[in-house]
């Protein structure tokens, strides 16, 4: 499986990019010990004109490179944690719906459908606006709008797996429903969940950056979306202020998508070489 993943050029590039981004995020305090908010040079310093400030400075003279590296932390953290929370909501709900069927299924799916109808970015905006923008509220809002596809996926997988013979065997062996679900059924639905999770981290990073672009970022945490949002009004005079953070988001999200596709091909080999979407 690892060999199949490694033979996918895009996926390997994705992993390399992601490792670099993680490395930069982890060493942010070493590389830029003064932090992203410190005013270190004159404002509007054009990139590639002064040593030590390769990406220039912003409207207040803050180092753009420092902002990018510190912003990587927020993006990765929010992306990862919100995905974990979304899985924690979606997996149990989908599993119960798919395994028990009947009214549990009916209720859970109505609930999921309701959340799928609501425009998810608008809901995220409303949640963060009302709960005040903090890392916690942003992460929860993203999780709340991202779990429905997980629930649907897990439900479908569980429904397919629970009809297999080894599940009947487990039942004959006298295992409880709960043991069968957690011990026999769910482990066999893990690979599509992993693929979906890697793509969800990418979507969550985009969502977080969009929220902070609108001014709904945590005011205490430098983030890529905030940098672009703050530079929006000066785009005519200082293109680099919005350009570089956007490239950072694009590259990180692209890397995660490539990894997701690679995982998909490696974990579902019968689907690979068909160019699944």
């Amino acid at each position: 499986m690892i060999r199949r993943f490694a033979s996918n050029k895009g996926a390997v590039i994705g992993v390399l990019i992601l490792l670099i981004v993680i490395g930069l995020a982890l060493s942010a305090d070493l590389l830029f010990p003064r932090g992203p908010w410190a005013m270190v040079q004159r404002p509007f310093l054009v990139p590639f004109t002064m040593d030590g400030f390769p990406l220039g400075t912003d409207t207040l003279g803050r180092d753009v490179a420092a902002g990018l590296v510190h912003g990587a932390r927020v993006s990765l953290l929010v992306g990862l944690v919100s995905t974990i929370v979304a899985l924690a909501i979606g997996v149990p709900l989908g599993a119960v719906a798919g395994f028990y069927g009947g009214w549990a299924d009916e209720g859970a799916m109505r609930f999921t459908e309701f959340f799928q109808t609501i425009p998810n970015f608008a809901l995220a905006i409303v949640l963060v606006a009302i709960l005040e923008p903090t890392l916690t509220s942003i992460t929860s809002a993203i999780a709340i709008v991202s779990w429905p596809p997980v629930a649907r996926l897990v439900r479908a997988e569980v429904m397919a797996v629970k009809r297999r013979e080894y599940v009947d065997a487990a039942r004959l062996a006298g295992l409880s429903n709960f043991r069968i679900l957690t011990g026999e059924v769910l482990p066999n639905t893990v690979s599509p969940i992993i693929v979906m999770a890697s793509l969800m981290v990418a979507t969550a990073i985009l969502l977080e950056s969009s929220l902070s672009f609108l001014g709904l970022g945590d005011p205490n945490a430098m983030s890529w979306g905030y940098m672009i949002g703050a530079a929006r009004t000066v785009i005519r005079s200082a293109w680099w202020l919005s350009f570089f953070p956007g490239v950072a988001i694009l590259v990180t999200v692209l890397a995660l998508n490539l990894i997701g596709e690679g995982l998909n091909d490696a974990l579902n080999p019968h689907l690979s070489r068909k160019g699944t979407a």
Partner: protein, 325 residues
């Protein structure tokens, strides 16, 4: 009647969903830190003591929780979304005034992304494995990872600031006084950049989906039969494969409509497009919760309408669905 019945069913379901969102809104107001009356009045200092007292009375904040819930939902049912103290007008008026601009923008983006996405997906699947296929797939992958608002900003930078081809701001040229066709042309010029940047991401989604779906259907037996009959490649692709491959794309497009409406908040913010998304952005800074929640409800209603419309398209593309229902 056979055609109408499922649509009536959908409408009933839509109303229930909207009521549920109204209830959700009510709980959100109470989840906000602080007194709900002050929350609704907006924190911009626009409301005086008397207004807050009026609000308190109107929402029955001195009454029990379920009475409050009932009166809130009843107001929404009567299309009374409250008053925006910030803008000095009823929220419903603000929204209705700006809704046409958003409808034009999202519908244009939807049509552009769906037609281009399907066309490019078909083109890529016809040349699978060749260089042009790789170029298209790579582009789709890039667009798929591009933040919508950033693509919009870069489009303004390139096409409006640097090249000066298209306006990057607003809905029409202010003070130009165009009328008739000249005005329509002016609006179209203003529409090109917002609609295409909003559609870009979705175009990538539909293209990938179309390509995958085309390749999947191409493996099926009836396609082999068609080939064995001696039909030419393009005819098979158009009449046999595309017809079947397009169904999941239309389904997906219906589901994605919600994201299109949400994305309009970003696009309208960048382009100062006077729609409800821009209204929401302005209300965020002012903490005008009444307006935010009103826009939220209306955008959910828009999504439902989009979904019902795609359902109708679906019936046109695949008559079997109508027969079954």
């Amino acid at each position: 009647m056979a055609v109408l019945a499922p649509i009536l069913g959908r409408l009933a379901k839509a109303l229930i969903t909207l009521l549920a969102i109204a209830v959700l809104n009510f709980f959100l107001i109470h989840a906000a830190p602080g007194d709900p009356a002050v929350v609704l009045a907006g924190e911009a200092g626009a409301a005086d003591e008397q207004m807050i007292a009026q609000l308190r009375e109107r929402f029955g904040l001195d009454q029990s929780f379920h009475v409050q819930l009932g009166s809130y939902v009843w107001n929404i049912v009567q299309l009374d979304f409250g008053y925006s103290f910030r803008q000095g007008a009823p929220v419903l008026d603000l929204i209705l005034e700006r809704l046409p601009a958003t409808l034009i923008l999202t519908l244009t983006a939807f049509v552009i992304s769906l037609t281009l996405g399907i066309a490019l997906g078909v083109a890529a699947s016809a040349r699978v494995g060749k260089a042009s296929d790789s170029v298209l797939t790579t582009l789709a992958l890039l667009f798929y990872a591009t933040p919508l608002y950033w693509a919009a900003l870069m489009a303004v930078l390139v096409f409006s600031v640097e090249l000066g081809w298209l306006p990057g701001f607003g809905y029409e040229t202010v003070g130009a006084g165009y009328s008739g066709l000249a005005r329509i042309w002016d609006v179209i010029k203003h529409l090109i950049l917002p609609a295409s940047t909003l559609g870009l991401f979705f175009m990538a989604v539909y293209m990938r989906m179309t390509r995958a779906s085309m390749l999947e259907v191409a493996q099926m037996d009836f396609v082999k039969t068609a080939r064995a009959k001696g039909l030419s490649g393009p005819v098979i692709r158009r009449r046999h494969i595309l017809r079947n491959a397009i169904l999941p794309v239309v389904t997906l497009a219906g589901l994605q409509a919600g994201q299109l409406v949400g994305g309009a908040v970003l696009t309208e913010t960048v382009f100062a497009w006077p729609g409800i998304g821009r209204l929401m952005f302005e209300s965020l800074a002012a903490r005008d919760y009444n307006t935010i929640l009103g826009v939220f409800l209306v955008s959910a209603a828009m999504v439902i309408v989009f979904n019902i419309l795609t359902d109708l398209v679906y019936r046109l593309v695949d008559p079997r669905i109508g027969a079954r229902a």
